[in-house]
């Protein structure tokens, strides 16, 4: 009996992870309709469900085999077979890390917002858990149709969370967020349709499957010309529409304008999840879809994208520097840090891409932590202006300590998580994009400038403001949340191989797929035949490390 349950779970682990949150809230809603459950039941059940989700993610990690290639734990069920639309889920190393991040952040965020949200709590929990299902589904979907469904469905819970529990300009912010994101996705829909029907003209039947089912063909087997043929069948157009949707999500300059409003106006848990996970979906989209499917176009567009990434890094940092609102400062720092991730991705070498993926996880943890910590002080003082604070370290020393750790993590102090990712990105990017890397490194300095200056204005100096003198330090729940966030910061910083090992295979495969599908990565990386022996020796050195 136990073993059959075990195998049942093993066969459907991914589905369980994806649908557990939604199933929980649907059951709660049903029970609520019949019995009128009190809010505390909802809160504890949601928290328990999110912790079970985290346990499932850990089980997934344990079951994941870092050495094998391709997708693992694949589940497939027929949905609309005549169009090649299937319910396909699968995981690779990169998705594993992001699923772990998502599963980790939800219980932390729920615990952090325990007293933050007090009106319409049941709806809030409903939307947060529904959002969780949407995000996990998008990371695990292997069918483009399914991916698109999850990609769009995520928007609805976020729309409601910002719109109902947000700040004064929440309605403007949430509409802007929704419309901006959906415009990009709608154009991506055209691209997806073209791909599916291209599959029909090349292989006889339409398919939205990324990898072929049962040895059949999938989208990844399509040969998409980079030149010649109608404009809408070329890699350029297809990459463009996919990249636009993802660039809006990341967000890349100049498509970032929805982010400051959405982050600032969203309630703390909303901001934490938005910055922690939703933004990563954009970069994940590049890694999973845009780069491997359209490699030649990716290389053609890469100079522009790298340019925009670098602009984003510097611009984000400069604007963050002049902010007087603490939450807006963190929001713009997100723009800056996501620029680093895109830079690492488009270095298109193992270090760059690994660094980018690791930084996705790191940034999720650091920025999530920063938003949660800002939320804690906002809950007490109901202001976020930097000049309303000062000398807080004297009133709330524990809070100051945790905020300092989060700041250093975000800045990239060696020993904490931010450093490893940033270092790998800069290392990788310097090999292929030296000029851009030099400019990007200034972003590291700038991030230290604005974060440390903000910290100084908030925590150090004289405790002048009367309102600040009576502030209560972190309670047990808040300390728990803070410690939970600090642990991965230290772990990633000190022992990153736990996190880089699972993704190594996936990163190599990404680059291999790009080369196999026609991208001249060697030229992009500036290599030629003379470099081969040196590079082979370097690769030897790395694998032996």
């Amino acid at each position: 009996m136990a073993t059959s349950l075990d195998t049942l779970l093993a066969d459907h682990l991914l589905s369980a992870i994806v649908f557990l949150p939604l199933a929980t809230v649907l059951l709660l809603a049903l029970a609520d309709g019949l019995f009128r459950l009190p809010e505390t039941i909802w809160r504890y059940t949601a928290l328990a469900s999110s912790l079970v989700g985290l346990l499932l993610a850990l089980a997934l990690w344990q079951r994941f085999d870092p050495a094998s290639s391709g997708m693992q734990l694949v589940e497939r069920a027929e949905w609309i077979p005549s169009w090649g639309i299937h319910y396909s889920l699968g995981i690779d190393g990169i998705a594993l890390l992001l699923v772990a991040l998502t599963s980790f952040l939800l219980p932390v965020v729920l615990l952090a917002s325990w007293t933050d949200i007090h009106a319409r709590v049941k709806s809030y929990l409903f939307f947060m858990l529904a959002l969780q299902t949407g995000m996990l589904g998008a990371f695990l979907a292997l069918n483009l149709f399914l991916f698109y469904v999850f990609w769009e469905l995520m928007l609805i819970p976020m729309y409601f969370v910002i719109g109902i529990w947000g700040g004064p300009r929440r309605i403007y912010a949430t509409l802007k967020f929704f419309i901006y994101t959906m415009v990009g996705s709608l154009l991506m829909l055209v691209g997806i349709l073209v791909l599916a029907w291209l599959h029909q003209s090349q292989f006889g039947s339409p398919s939205f499957e990324y990898y072929g089912a049962n040895g059949g063909t999938g989208i990844l087997d399509l040969s998409i010309p980079n030149a010649g043929g109608p404009w809408w069948q070329r890699q350029g157009f297809l990459f463009g529409v996919f990249a636009l949707a993802f660039a809006i999500k990341v967000p890349m300059f100049p498509f970032h304008t929805w982010l400051p409003d959405a982050h600032v106006e969203a309630p703390t848990p909303g901001s934490a999840v938005l910055a922690g996970v939703l933004l990563k979906l954009g970069t994940f989209g590049f890694v999973r879809y845009a780069l491997p499917l359209f490699p030649q176009a990716a290389l053609d567009f890469a100079p522009w994208i790298v340019g925009l990434a670098v602009i984003g890094i510097v611009y984000g940092a400069l604007v963050a520097w002049v902010q007087s609102d603490l939450k807006k400062l963190v929001a713009y720092s997100s723009v800056s840090h996501m620029g680093f991730i895109v830079l690492g991705l488009f270095a298109l070498n193992p270090q760059g891409v690994s660094g980018a993926v690791l930084q996705m996880v790191s940034h999720g943890v650091s920025t999530g932590a920063l938003f949660i910590l800002v939320g804690m002080i906002y809950e007490r003082r109901h202001v976020r202006e930097l000049d309303a604070f000062g000398g807080l370290a004297q009133a709330m020393p524990v809070f100051a300590a945790f905020f300092a750790i989060a700041t250093f993590s975000s800045v990239g102090l060696p020993g904490l998580n931010g450093f490893v990712g940033e270092f790998l990105i800069l290392l990788g990017a310097f090999q292929t994009l030296p000029g851009a890397t030099v400019i990007a490194t200034s972003g590291v300095i700038l991030s230290a400038v604005y974060m440390l200056w903000a910290m100084r204005r908030v925590f150090f100096g004289p405790l002048a403001n009367e309102a600040n003198k009576t502030l209560v330090d972190l309670g047990l729940r808040e300390k728990l949340v803070a410690v939970a966030l600090v642990i991965p910061m230290i772990w990633i910083g000190v022992h990153p191989s736990t996190f880089t090992n699972p993704m190594d295979r996936a990163v190599t495969e990404l680059l291999e797929t790009m080369t196999r599908r026609g991208a001249d990565l060697a030229a992009w990386q500036g290599r030629d035949a003379a470099d081969e022996p040196r590079l082979a020796a370097e690769a030897e050195l790395e694998t032996s490390r």
């Binding site: 990609w151 469905l153 309605i171 709608l186 829909l189």
Partner: protein, 515 residues
């Protein structure tokens, strides 16, 4: 000499037609009966009985229609093809009947609250539905005109049903004038086609159609213009916003869905059967109409403050999306139009029904601001409205997305097959228009959820029938959105019929269309 007609061929239409005859008698009988089943027969109860009877007649027709799907097609008159009961006709008949049922369910209480609770309402609805059923099956020009008139004239009267309201009268007069004008144009076009080709049957017109002959082209053009009015495509759309806003809300629902479905059925048949030789040039013109309808509809809807008017412009925009499917043509195109019409019916009637439920004691709460805080005062209504709104904007997971997905898919397929980019451009325009439509569709859930309820707000409460209609719409939107393949196996098991697979039905219907 009675021709050898097979009445059983048009069996689906018979129950509704019988209903038209029986309902007035039932109404009179009920008026004469002070007490029935131990309860006093008040005006409201009379309305409920009549509504139930109408639903029964419509359901009987629906049963016969679904039955006819699995049976081999019957020919009504072997000498002269007046109606063609093929898969497309049956599919659209089902949609029209479902639309009629939902309208009737939503109207019973609503009519009482707008002080227009007369039994004639149901007679008019059933007459119009009879006309629609013949319209989607009509395969000759006279039948087309007859059915069109049988469909339209009751709706003119229905638009003005709220006699005491100036807006209702205005809506009826506008609709009547423009609708009659459109029917006249259609009739003139038909006469030209008859003159040019010598035949009234659509299939024979196709064989004798001469693309060089001006008479043929003008006739075809006029017929299309007449139908264009009925589907409220730009530039023939001007009547729609005023008419939808002024008419009683459930009548607007009926007009927005069933009338449009039937008109699109006629359009499909005329284009694919009658005008097949010139379909290329016609599609060129329709391309422009589609692009204009989508754009004008969506842009104008952005500035509306009245929910019904906004839904009117939204239906103009959806006519544009549907035309994309019509232009895509072939089997995928026709299938996409059929499924889109089905999904569109559910979501639009759902939206209009929510507005009609809010009506109370003559006060119609049809401004968007009236929906403020509905999530807190009427959470179930707000949820139903949100589902319909997200479906109308095409959110994946809802039926609206499946409809749009199919239409865009058919267009892309057609573009790939012919190698032309014009359809792909149209899809890009459609997609950008969907983005524009977010601006007004999102306003409704935002108003309901993000704003507090108004102090003086007294929204109505739904009765059982309205609740049933809303549940059916919301469930259909979600089911068709998530499981379009087997949306109705449970229902078909209930009806002990062959597995009704919506997509397969539509696909089969499209495959055997015009052959």
């Amino acid at each position: 000499m009675i021709p050898a007609i097979d009445v059983a061929a048009v069996a689906p239409m018979i129950p509704v037609a019988l209903g038209v005859l029986c309902l007035p008698m039932l109404d009179t009988a009920l008026r004469a009966t002070p007490e029935l089943l131990g309860q006093r027969v008040s005006a409201a109860r009379r309305g409920t009985y009549l509504a139930s009877a109408s639903v029964l007649f419509l359901a009987a027709s629906l049963l016969l229609t679904l039955n006819a799907f699995s049976a081999p097609p019957r020919v009504f008159n072997p000498d002269f093809e007046m109606v063609k009961m093929d898969g497309v006709a049956l599919f659209l008949m089902s949609i029209v009947l479902i639309g009629g049922m939902l309208t009737v369910l939503a109207s019973a209480r609503y009519l009482e609250h707008i002080h227009s609770n007369w039994g004639e309402f149901y007679v008019l609805v059933l007459s119009s539905v009879t006309g629609m059923m013949f319209l989607v099956a009509a395969s000759d020009l006279i039948m087309l005109f007859l059915a069109l008139e049988l469909m339209s004239i009751p709706v003119y009267a229905l638009a003005g049903f709220r006699r005491a309201s100036l807006r209702s009268n205005e809506s009826a007069v506008k609709y009547f004038l423009i609708g009659s004008f459109a029917s006249g144009i259609l009739l003139y076009g038909s006469s030209l086609l008859y003159g040019a080709t010598g035949s009234l049957e659509l299939s024979e017109i196709a064989t004798s159609f001469d693309p060089e002959n001006a008479l043929d082209l003008v006739g075809a053009g006029l017929v299309l213009i007449g139908l264009g009015f009925k589907i409220s495509s730009v530039p023939f759309h001007q009547w729609a916003p005023d008419t939808y806003e002024g008419a009683p809300t459930t009548v607007s629902a009926f007009m927005a869905t069933a009338v449009k479905v039937a008109a699109f059925g006629a359009l499909l048949r005329v284009l694919n059967v009658g005008l097949a030789p010139v379909s290329e040039s016609v599609y060129g013109v329709l391309w422009v109409l589609a692009a204009l309808s989508m754009t004008v509809g969506n842009v104008m809807a952005l500035i509306q403050r009245n929910t019904k008017r906004m839904l009117a412009y939204s239906s103009i925009a959806h006519a544009g999306y549907l035309l994309v499917g019509v232009i895509a043509g072939g089997e995928p195109g026709v299938q996409s139009v059929l499924v889109y019409l089905l999904t569109y019916t559910f979501m639009t009637i759902g939206a209009f029904t929510v507005v009609s439920v809010l009506t109370r004691d003559g006060a119609e709460l049809d401004r968007i601001d009236d929906l403020s805080g509905l999530a807190q005062t009427r959470p179930a209504l707000a949820a139903a409205m949100s589902i319909c709104m997200f479906s109308l904007l095409g959110m994946p997971g809802t039926a609206g997305f499946i409809g749009k997905f199919l239409v865009f898919s058919a267009a892309v397929q057609s573009g790939l097959a012919t190698g032309s980019s014009s359809l792909v451009w149209l899809v890009v325009i459609a997609v950008l228009n969907s983005a524009i439509s977010l601006g007004y569709y999102l306003r409704i859930p935002a108003t309901m959820y993000f704003y507090p309820p108004r102090d003086d707000a007294q929204p109505g409460k739904a009765t059982f029938f309205e609740g049933l209609a809303l549940c059916a719409c919301a469930a259909a939107v979600l089911l068709l959105g998530l499981l379009p393949h087997d949306a109705l196996p449970g229902l078909s098991a209930l009806l002990q019929m062959a597995d009704v697979n919506v997509l397969q039905l539509a696909s089969d219907a499209a495959a055997s269309f015009a052959h």
